[in-house]
Every structure is written in structure tokens, then in C-alpha cells.
Symmetry: C2
Subunit: 324 residues, 2 copies
């Protein structure tokens, strides 16, 4: 089995690559070839089979066709620029997130072998005002250019799947928490930061109220979603190929309480309150709770509690150790 | 006031042009210039002001920029290929309906004067299975390439409006009935045909059961929707710029009963039943009833009954006369 991963140098892409390389199989079928690409060349994983890594801009003419020339059986399309950048640079956002994705769908259509395509969409396809829990049939109302581009790609994926050009599944990821690595400038960064920095002995800044409610899943769950999506049959998915993933819904206060339960008062005390009007306003427009019953019925699974999300971070990123 | 109409040679485009030329004003502001374009040059209307007509393919490089060089205050974007053609020719559908529309949004963004844009979308952005009445917050689930392209353009219109590049309103038209002219190959053609042909003394073919429920508005109402949409303030519309228009929901049997009431048994007897499995299957996937409360609250108005739709046709197309 040959697997193509775009955006393979990103956080989720790296974790997915590592998992596939380690398992040597995807949903029971042995993997013999990995094609990994991103705007910068991904690091090749330790893997017994064949690995091609490349730096490519899939929106550039001919690049997508080159990537799919090896006729991958499964394509994980994770490449894209993030929300903040898409909002700052309109042209780049539409070029990379929409035109790049469309170029990939077109290249796969031209290749003609109808691979399973797993596309990472986002809950940013939804925009306020929201009902108490966003159902699977809630309309697409993005309030960012990023969310708009993701929604447009979802629609095209559904159409190209219906027409038999690709065999698509789009998954709308919750906020992925706890993100490993350094703090970043994303408005959502604090959701990870208030857990990651205290566990590493550092101070974290909390720019919003503890009452803020949000929808979370661990990086480990995100990889699980991708792998599960690759294994679903066309019949199970049906014509509505884009699915809101399950998540853990909790407030910032509940996140902090979970941190305190797991790591103690001293660690939780490393969170400094510094209200930021801009971040508060941005976060206000985000969805916070979903009724993801279709994904659950299809077998997608997420952590049961935020405690589990913290434990996954400690196991996967900290070797089980917390900074006292 | 300068008005640009794309798709001005089409049925709705011609009627909108005639109405604007006759009124000489749009929502209380005098019109001094009309720019009319389509893939074939529209016929210039009798109009006191300046009229430019042109044949243009807005998807072709530079064409959209030329069209908006005169900085129109209001743009009615009706151009596009129809559902059946978009389904048969994937590339043409995406090129004309998506890329052409995007080129227009981009040209308006580049022009920088932020005109009101009224975009004709379609209830084809929705696909079965449906609730009993489709609410304004029902998700976009097109089951045709045409519906997909319209939904993608809606999303982009909302984003470009939010960013201040254009001032957009998208209106999802019901099936427009009674279409004047010759029978066409559209699967929906019979909804008009079973009224139009009998009133003109011709036989009409009915390919579906009388229980089929559908969502209708007259061409006169469609023009009314466009004009009303042009006059709404940005504040009234808000961030959800795409609106399902009101319609008359009735069964084919109710359509025929209305025809009998207005024109008599002899006229209604000109409908011949000839069930067609393909048409039945296509029509089965179409939405039939909407809860268009947002549009109604914003002042959009449609006929109260199907009788009124037939009367509008007799007045507007038949000079008040029915073939005995």
C-alpha cells in the first residue's frame, strides 16, 4: 500500500507519519511506500519500506500531478496555511488552501484510480451565532477566510466523490490540544499553553475568562481520526462526506481543574491571568460544542475527559514526567 | 446610478433589464447607465440613459476587469451555465460557474469601490435527505456539480463581503415557473410546461406523479427578489449574506387544479401523463419546502398561491389571453 501525506512536516503530519511508519500498516493492510511532502521537505521517518520526501507547493502548476504520479492508494491531505495567516494574506490563503487543494483533487481525477482521500477540514467552517450544540446538519457559516476556504474544499470533495473522481472523507478537527513545542501566535494558542508551559516548569498566560467553553482533542486522537477515516467504506460514509469529529467540551476553568488534579497546585499556579480584549473577541466567534453523532456512530473516538488529554500529552511528549 | 448585469441575455436577465429600463430607477435612485453582458450580446433595451452591451466570457483572463472598469454601483451577477450542462461537462461548469464568478469578485475587489453585488444562487445548494421544511440554518449538501459551484460562490461572496471587498447578497431562487418560451431539456421543465403548453393550446407531458411537491416563484417575483436584494442595507443582511427566497409550495396536482380553476377543464385536459423513471429519480433529490423566514422578515415577497403564478404568466406573457 502506498500512502501520500501532504503537510507531512506539520505537527499532525509528523505524528501521523511516525504512527504509520511504526505500525507498518493502515487498517490491516501493509504499507510498502510513503510519499511525504510539504512546503519544506519533511524529515524521513524510520521505516522499512520506500520513502520519498519532497518540498512542493501543490498550488504551483504541475506539482500536484507529480505528487500523485505514483498512484497512492490513500492520500492524507493536511497541507494548508493556518487561520491567522489566511486572514492576513487573502491571496495566499485562497491560493494555498483552495487552489492547492483543488489542484490535488484535479490531479487525482486525472490519475483516474480513485484513491481514498482524507482531508483535514476544521470547525472554522462554522461561525457564530450558534445553537447550544452544533448538529451535523448545521449550515456552513465561516467567519474567517480560512474557514471559507476549508468549506469550499469540503464541497468540492463531496462533488468529486459523488462523481467517482476520488473517494473522499473530510474531517473537521476540534482544536488540537495540547500542541507540543513553543508557544505560537495563534489566538487559540493559550488552550495548549496553559497546560504545556506549567507542566514544563514555565509560566503561561491566560488571555480569556475561565468560563470560555471550547472543543478539544489530543494530537493522538487527531491521528486516530485520520486513520479511522482512511478505513471507512464508501457505503458507511454516504454522500455527506464531511464529518465533524467528536471532541471534549470543557471550559478553561475545567481545563485548569484537570491540570490541578493531575499535576498539583504548584503547577496550576504557573498560569497568569492577563485578559486580552482582542483574543477574547476572536474566541467569542468560535464554536464551542458539537453534537457529533454521525462521527460517533461511524466509530470515531476521542478522549472521554480533559484529564485524558493532559495524560496523553504527558505520555507522548514528556516521557511521563512533570516539572515539579 | 450605473448597473451591471451579467447573464443579461438569459430569461431572468432580460426581464430584469426590461424592468430597470422601464422604471428608470432602482430602489428610488435614478439609473443613468446600464452595462449588459452575456456569452452572447444581450439585446439593448429601450432606455433613455447610456447602454453598453457586450458578449463576454467572464472566466477568460481580463474580461471581468473590463466589465467593472466603469465602476458599477450595483452588479447583478446572473451569468452561469445551467444544472444539466454543469453535470454533463464538469470542467465547463467549474470554469464558468466557479472561476467566472470568482474572477468577477476579484475584479470588483481590485476596483476597490465596494459595490452592492446581487448573486443568483439556487436551492440546488441543498440536497436530500431533507427535513419537512428546510430552515435557514440547514447545511449545504448539494448533490449536483451545479449546486456545489453555487455553494462555493456563496461562501466566497460571504467572505469577500465580510472583508469589505464587495457588498454582497446571495439569493437562492426557487424553481422559476412559468418559464416563457419553448420547452427545454431541463429535468424541471415540466413544472412550467404543464401550465405553459395547455394555456397556448398545446399538449404538455407530465413525467412525474401528481404528489410531487415543489417550490415555485414566478419570473416576475424573481425580478422582484433581485431588486429588493439590491436595496437592503448591509446592517439588515448581516454576516449571513446568502438567503433562501420565499416560494409557493405545492404539488403537481395542486398546480393542475389551479390551472383548471383559471382556464377550465378543456385546457387542463391537455396534460398527458407519461411517467419517466429518470426524471422522477432526479426530482426526488430536490428540496420541496423551505422555511424562508429570514427572507420574509427582510421583506422579500412572492405570490400567495399557484393561481397567482399562473395569472402572472397570463398577464406578462400572453397579453391576458388563454387559448380556448
Amino acid at each position: 500500500m502506498h500512502i501520500l501525506i501532504t503537510g507531512a512536516a506539520g505537527m499532525i503530519g509528523r505524528k501521523l507519519t511516525e504512527r504509520l511508519a511504526r505500525d507498518g500498516a493502515l487498517n490491516g493492510r501493509a504499507i510498502d511506500r510513503l510519499t511525504l511532502t510539504d512546503i519544506v521537505a519533511p524529515a524521513p521517518p524510520a521505516f522499512a519500506g520506500s520513502v520519498d520526501v519532497s518540498a512542493a507547493d501543490i498550488a504551483a502548476p504541475g506539482e500536484a500531478a507529480k505528487l500523485v504520479a505514483g498512484r497512492p492508494d490513500v492520500v492524507f491531505h493536511l497541507a494548508g496555511i493556518v487561520s491567522g495567516e489566511a486572514e492576513l494574506d487573502v491571496d495566499k490563503g485562497y491560493r494555498v488552501n483552495l487552489d492547492g487543494t483543488r489542484a490535488l483533487w484535479e490531479a487525482l481525477r486525472a490519475a483516474g484510480h480513485r484513491p481514498r482521500v482524507v482531508f483535514t477540514s476544521s470547525i472554522a467552517v462554522f461561525g457564530a451565532p450558534f445553537p447550544a450544540a452544533i448538529a451535523d446538519d448545521f449550515h456552513l457559516t465561516p467567519l474567517t477566510s480560512y474557514g471559507t476556504q476549508k468549506a469550499m474544499c469540503e464541497l468540492m470533495l463531496a462533488d468529486y466523490t459523488r462523481r467517482g473522481f476520488v473517494d473522499g472523507v473530510g474531517i473537521r478537527l476540534p482544536s488540537i490540544v495540547v500542541r507540543p513545542g513553543k508557544p505560537n501566535k495563534a489566538a487559540s494558542g493559550f488552550f495548549s499553553g496553559i497546560i504545556r508551559e506549567p507542566l514544563a516548569g514555565q509560566e503561561a498566560v491566560l488571555p480569556v475568562a475561565e468560563t470560555v467553553l471550547h472543543w478539544h482533542a489530543s494530537p493522538r486522537s487527531a491521528v486516530g481520526f485520520l486513520i479511522h477515516a482512511a478505513g471507512l467504506s464508501r457505503e458507511e460514509v454516504g454522500p455527506r462526506v464531511n464529518l465533524t469529529m467528536p471532541g471534549v467540551c470543557c471550559t478553561v476553568g475545567e481545563q485548569i481543574a484537570a491540570l490541578r488534579r493531575i499535576a498539583g497546585d504548584k503547577v496550576a499556579a504557573r498560569i497568569r491571568r492577563a485578559p486580552d480584549e482582542l483574543v477574547m473577541r476572536i474566541v467569542d466567534g468560535w464554536p464551542s460544542r458539537f453534537d457529533a453523532r454521525r462521527a460517533l456512530a461511524l466509530g470515531f473516538r476521542v478522549e472521554a475527559t480533559f484529564d485524558d488529554i493532559i495524560r496523553a500529552h504527558i505520555e507522548d511528549e514528556l516521557g511521563g514526567k512533570i516539572a515539579a
